[in-house]
Symmetry: C2
Subunit: 328 residues, 2 copies
């Protein structure tokens, strides 16, 4: 089933179910007022939500209406935690070159992960207000999972079973600020402004065989000002989501609604292109001696969509955002 | 005024005002049900809260009762963000030696700050369940501030005016995991389990002249199993809280209720002792060639209290916690 959060002026928005073809929707607030509440009561609400989703699919749902992604906020406007890995080693290796930073120890065997801000997420079509083009404005196309409660010390196989929903993410990044923050050892903070999400959070079964081995096996198409950047496939993730969730929970418990991201989707095959500009720039440096592609400018747009194998609409819907200058 | 959160089985607990001498309390839930709600409506609730606090002080408050810190959770059980600086350079320099890590660039002029988990805070007397003594269990005594909304790009002087409450913090740390996480550049995650707070969040005026220059000018007494570790003074903070809040808000807005910490309180004078074991251990290494003091063991306790200049109870109350083994 596909869940969305419609903006209605409330703090958490309104829980909504969306049909598989993304044309119809139905209010689900009688089952749970918002998605965070639903996740906290998942054992109780899953069956009624699935029943309502089936009714919507069959044209039997009372009060169904046309789905309009423009009315959507992020599926979870606020999450208990937002933890982002870097599980595509190809991306990490390229970023080491881009930032001229030393190799990360045990990078092949121990996931890396930073803690991001989870109180001010952006919706799929929201403008992104940032202070300064000189900070190296970049997008990062990612997949992510939303989990139920996860106990401290949970094993990866068990953690995989705690995944309730899959999401598609644009992890906005400021590349001029990242290298300094990495050198401090304290991690990304200023380099990671508010993160954006595609409108639909989906149960893993919604992806069919594309959800396999704890990975989203779909290509993520990324366009910058309408021009192709790439469409790398999520199946190439070196650590699966169960491993990432277990990493996050090693010394803490995770609250229901915690989001864990994959890091930038990236494939070893150059033909796949990239899901961020920094990666393209470092490939240009390697291949051509210098980066040609600039970072984003105010007014630029980025569009991201996971591609359905059957050519239909991407299962998570579309992120399409414009960068604007923040008011001084 | 002094605010506390009484545990009543609800998600955010119950907002309570506490008398200056910490003997009496009164329920404030008719003004705002919980502290997070109060912070989101601060302009509206501040005056009625102050009126009720004055009535409590004068013995005129209906329904006043004896204050029992054992009933308290952390002042904010869940915060929008928890951002912790390292604003005492003496601590940072010692930790570089402890971790044998390279000098942090621009450490004297640009604050460092990590993002912590803000969804699972501990109360002042809560046991701390951790998986493994071998992870180097340590406490860190800190001061912190809770802010109102802070706009992106806020200047330090303006940020200082957005501080609503002051708090006392125990930033639990796992020292065996920290150096690796610093080397990844992604920052602390597993090395920082749930953070604990003293029972009372206080308005800055409550400290009188001890709140000056954006710093808490009080000694923070730290005892490990009843033995003195130190009582360093918060006045020696190299970056004031306005600067720390502005650092956090450079590329993001902060939601009301965001907590910004000072990092471990630390003084250059050796006579002040330390507010964490790692610092004492590195001083032993420097002075005696080897660390003698072990990290904490299951069953150990730590007690922290800011010392009032007049010898009365510490303005934030007492943190007194025991480390226990987490269930497997």
């Amino acid at each position: 089933m596909k869940l969305a959060t419609l903006r209605d002026g409330s703090f958490e928005g309104r829980l909504t179910l969306v049909s598989r073809d993304q044309t119809r929707a139905v209010d689900a607030a009688t089952i749970a007022p918002d998605l965070l509440t639903a996740l906290r009561r998942w054992a109780q609400v899953q069956a009624p939500l699935r029943a309502l989703a089936a009714a919507l699919e069959d044209g039997r749902a009372d009060g169904a209406f046309n789905f309009d992604p423009a009315r959507c906020g992020p599926p979870l406007p606020h999450a208990p935690q937002w933890l982002d890995g870097s599980a595509f080693l190809n991306h990490g290796r390229l970023m080491e070159k881009a930032f001229n930073s030393p190799p990360i120890p045990h990078f092949d065997t121990v996931p890396v992960m930073y803690q991001g801000a989870s109180d001010d997420f952006l919706g799929p079509l929201d403008d992104v207000a940032l202070p300064d083009e000189a900070q190296g404005i970049d997008f990062e196309g990612e997949f992510g999972v939303i989990v139920d409660e996860v106990p401290m010390g949970c094993a990866a196989a068990d953690a995989l079973q705690r995944i309730r929903l899959l999401v598609q993410i644009n992890d906005w990044s400021l590349r001029a600020l990242g290298p300094h923050e990495m050198k401090t050892g304290f991690g990304f903070l200023q380099a990671k402004p508010s993160t954006a999400f595609a409108p639909l959070a989906v149960t893993p079964d919604e992806l069919g065989p594309a959800w396999a081995d704890g990975r989203v096996g779909l290509r993520l198409q990324v366009l910058h000002n309408g021009q192709r950047v790439g469409e790398p496939n999520g199946a190439e993730m070196n650590f699966d989501f169960g491993t990432l969730v277990a990493h996050a929970a090693r010394t803490r418990r995770l609250s229901a609604g915690t989001i864990v991201g994959s890091g930038t989707v990236s494939n070893a095959a150059r033909s796949a292109g990239s899901a961020c500009l920094a990666e393209r720039r470092v490939i240009e440096m390697i291949d051509e001696g210098a980066a040609r592609t600039p970072f984003m400018r105010f007014g630029d747009r980025v569009r991201m969509q996971a591609l359905a194998p059957d050519g239909g609409p991407g299962p998570f819907g579309v992120i399409d955002q414009r960068v604007v200058k923040a008011p001084a």
